[in-house]
């Protein structure tokens, strides 16, 4: 994890996104701010409807015309809203940023061979090169994402690849323009867990090699804690908590982050000796949000003042939280899972196994 003074890559300030629907105005984001440094991996965690995808779609200027957007999004110091749609935006979307999606199978044209898919993308960046030169570049990229026998696989079609391999190819295509920021929106959700582990390792390796920043979006806090340097927890279109990954994982300050962490069992626990903590209720309604803290209706610590107005996002050192009654460090640590940054191997298991019997 890089700690040297780096340049700010992305700065999002008080971003509000509203979709005017017939049923009412859907407030997808209600004032989200964050910054991201060069080469950093920022994890965004949230449940469905929390606004995690909308925030990056706004950054990529992928939101539909009718979406009402307020606030500022700067990339390398200049606003993305100033980009000229015809001239600058395509370049921005391939040479500055790139994106990979949840279901790699749906992101490919089934009638294009891989060679043609690569050629189409690479031609944008290297318009004067011959097919042969582009082919060499494709093979290079496929090798970088560890596709075996890239020379032969180039003539294959998407259906001849497995899901994990397609996601690798997606990553290779995203790398074609040498972007400074890779946005991965639930890139492993559709994949099996052994493949997920491989993709995560690959992304970590690529970050190291190319020094690009990654925004990694997922609903799985365990997974995000594994890959990200910093984590942003979104709920109801607001940032609930932001902290370095290990710290948030060890001692969440916001009751919602804690709820997310404890909602699923820790590995090795068993129903016969551990009750599962649940978060009662359901995710908030984005059309008619409650006036106060979006989590207040489900929060066990909520008091009247939580329901009156949305609490401010308070900064404390490297962490910030939006909560009037945040959890104390030590109290939260008692129940937290120690498993993070790969230290979760046998001893941790045994400790847990011992504790439960």
């Amino acid at each position: 994890m890089t700690k040297t003074a780096k340049q700010t890559l992305v700065r999002i300030d008080d971003l509000k996104v509203t979709f005017p629907l017939r049923r009412g105005a859907l407030k997808a984001l209600r004032g989200v701010s964050y910054t991201m440094e060069e080469g950093e991996i920022l994890g965004i965690v949230g449940e469905s409807g929390s606004g995690k995808s909308v925030s990056v779609q706004a950054l990529m200027r992928l939101l539909p015309e009718y979406a009402q957007i307020e606030g500022a999004i700067d990339f390398e110091g200049s606003s993305v809203f100033d980009l000229d749609k015809k001239k600058e935006l395509p370049k921005f979307r391939s040479e500055k940023t790139a994106m990979i999606f949840q279901e790699p199978g749906r992101s490919f044209d089934p009638l294009y061979s891989m060679e043609k898919t690569f050629r189409e993308t690479l031609r944008l960046h290297y318009p004067s090169e011959t097919d042969e030169e582009l082919r060499a570049r494709s093979i290079e990229l496929m090798r970088e994402v560890q596709i075996p026998q890239p020379e032969e696989r180039l003539s294959s079609y998407p259906h001849q690849f497995s899901g994990g391999q397609l996601q690798r190819v997606m990553i290779a295509l995203a790398l074609a323009g040498n972007p400074r920021l890779l946005i991965a929106d639930e890139p492993t959700t559709a994949l099996d867990v052994t493949i997920q582990a491989q993709i995560v390792e690959l992304l970590l390796k690529l970050r190291k090699k190319r020094g690009m920043g990654i925004i990694f979006i997922s609903h799985d806090l365990d997974l995000v804690a594994r890959i990200a340097d910093r984590i942003l927890v979104l709920y109801g279109g607001l940032v609930m908590e932001e902290a370095p990954a290990a710290e948030l994982y060890k001692a969440p300050a916001h009751p919602y982050s804690q709820g997310l962490l404890h909602a699923l069992p820790a590995f090795g626990t068993h129903y016969s000796s551990h009750e599962l903590h649940t978060i009662p209720g359901t995710v908030p309604n984005p059309i008619h949000p409650e006036p106060g803290c979006p989590f207040a209706p489900r929060c066990s610590r909520a008091k009247d003042e939580c329901r009156r107005a949305i609490p401010e996002l308070e900064r404390k050192g490297e962490r910030s939280r939006r909560c009037l009654f945040p959890l104390d460090g030590p109290a939260a640590q008692a129940g937290a899972d120690p498993a993070v940054d790969g230290s979760a191997d046998a001893p941790a298991d045994n400790a847990k196994g011992g504790a439960k019997s």
């Binding site: 997920q196 997310l260 069992p265 626990t269 995710v283 993070v340 045994n350």
Partner: protein, 328 residues
């Protein structure tokens, strides 16, 4: 504990192409000779990656597909047993009222045009146990409360409910006929994290209340370890290892099980096998060990299929070269 459900040497293959002009002779070998037992009152977890045959196996157990080989034997709570391959239509009815299935995606398994009441009672009405409209309505109302919904919601339709609530409806539909055995096929995978735990707790509560035996199919190992008494790990249509959940969390002997458990996000570490590999081709009949092509420990002997063998009374394993007492 007595045996409740026995799956004996089940196999099924699907024709790769269908239709009048389909070429025959090409098959997907989905389940390749699987045997295991569910004890009365236990929760048996079936885990494995997509395509390993776990859902197919569960569907074989309720005869949504007919097995090519093997049989399912069900020992009723009130004595007597059903042998699935020999059941007549009426007996199949009885069997299916005792063994119920809950599907993965509640959005797609509830008919959007039906009211919740008709969804709950559709199967029940066909059964000889149907107590009539008045009593049926009453039972449906009770069942709604049992799964944590309002009795007044019976006249609404699935679209009015969130994902978690719909899954509760699916569970209510399964339980209204007072089954003995519940098959839960990835019942929490489509739900938000904060909702998953609600459903898991509900299932635990209901299991207690109705004395259910459960077959729990999932790909999330952390959840399965928590929720199940015993776990069977499937790969390529075979069970490769089976052990009590707690034991499996501590120690795994099959190289595949070990890889699978080391891929759990909270346990991932650098020692993982990272090379990309070719996915298995299930159109070839299984001859050797199903994990042969990926296994770091393979040897020539593994080209011959290892049997799933009891090794210490608690664990069954199909491997010639198991991981030795390694604890990670």
């Amino acid at each position: 504990m007595s045996t409740h459900l026995e799956l004996k040497d089940l196999s099924i293959r699907f024709s790769l192409e269908a239709g009048l002009f389909a070429k025959y002779g090409r098959f997907v070998y989905a389940v390749n000779g699987v045997s295991f037992e569910l004890k009365r009152g236990e929760t048996y977890g079936l885990v494995g990656e997509s395509g390993c045959g776990k859902t197919t196996l569960a569907r074989l157990a309720v005869q949504m597909y007919k097995a090519d080989e093997g049989d399912v034997i069900f020992h009723k709570n009130d004595g007597g047993s059903h042998r699935l391959s020999e059941l007549k239509k009426k007996e199949l009815f009885d069997y299916r009222s005792r063994v119920k299935y809950v599907f993965q995606d509640p959005a797609r398994s509830l008919n959007p045009r039906m009211t919740i009441y008709s969804i709950l009672t559709e199967g029940y009405r066909q059964s000889p146990a149907w107590p009539g409209e008045e009593q049926g309505r009453k039972e449906a109302e009770e069942m709604m409360q049992t799964v944590g919904l309002n009795a007044e919601d019976l006249d609404r339709r699935p679209a009015d409910f969130s994902g978690g609530q719909r899954q509760r409806i699916s569970i209510a539909r399964a339980l209204i006929m007072k089954p003995e055995l519940l098959i839960c096929d990835e019942v929490v995978s489509a739900l938000d994290v904060s909702i998953q735990s609600q459903i898991l707790n509900l299932l635990l509560e209901l299991k207690e209340k109705f004395n259910l035996t459960m077959l729990f199919i999932a790909h999330d190992l952390t959840v399965t370890t928590y929720f199940c008494d015993r776990i069977g790990v499937m790969y390529r249509g075979k069970i490769v290892e089976e052990a009590p959940a707690k034991l499996m969390a501590e120690k795994r002997l099959h190289p595949y099980t070990n890889l699978l458990y080391n891929s759990i996000p909270s346990r991932m570490n650098e020692a993982l096998e990272l090379e990309a590999y070719e996915p298995f081709d299930s159109t070839q009949p299984l001859e050797g060990c199903p994990f042969y092509h990926r296994c770091p420990r393979r040897e020539e002997k593994c080209l011959k299929l290892p049997e799933l063998q009891d090794i210490d009374g608690e664990r069954r394993l199909a491997c010639y070269f198991p991981m030795e007492q390694e604890e990670s």
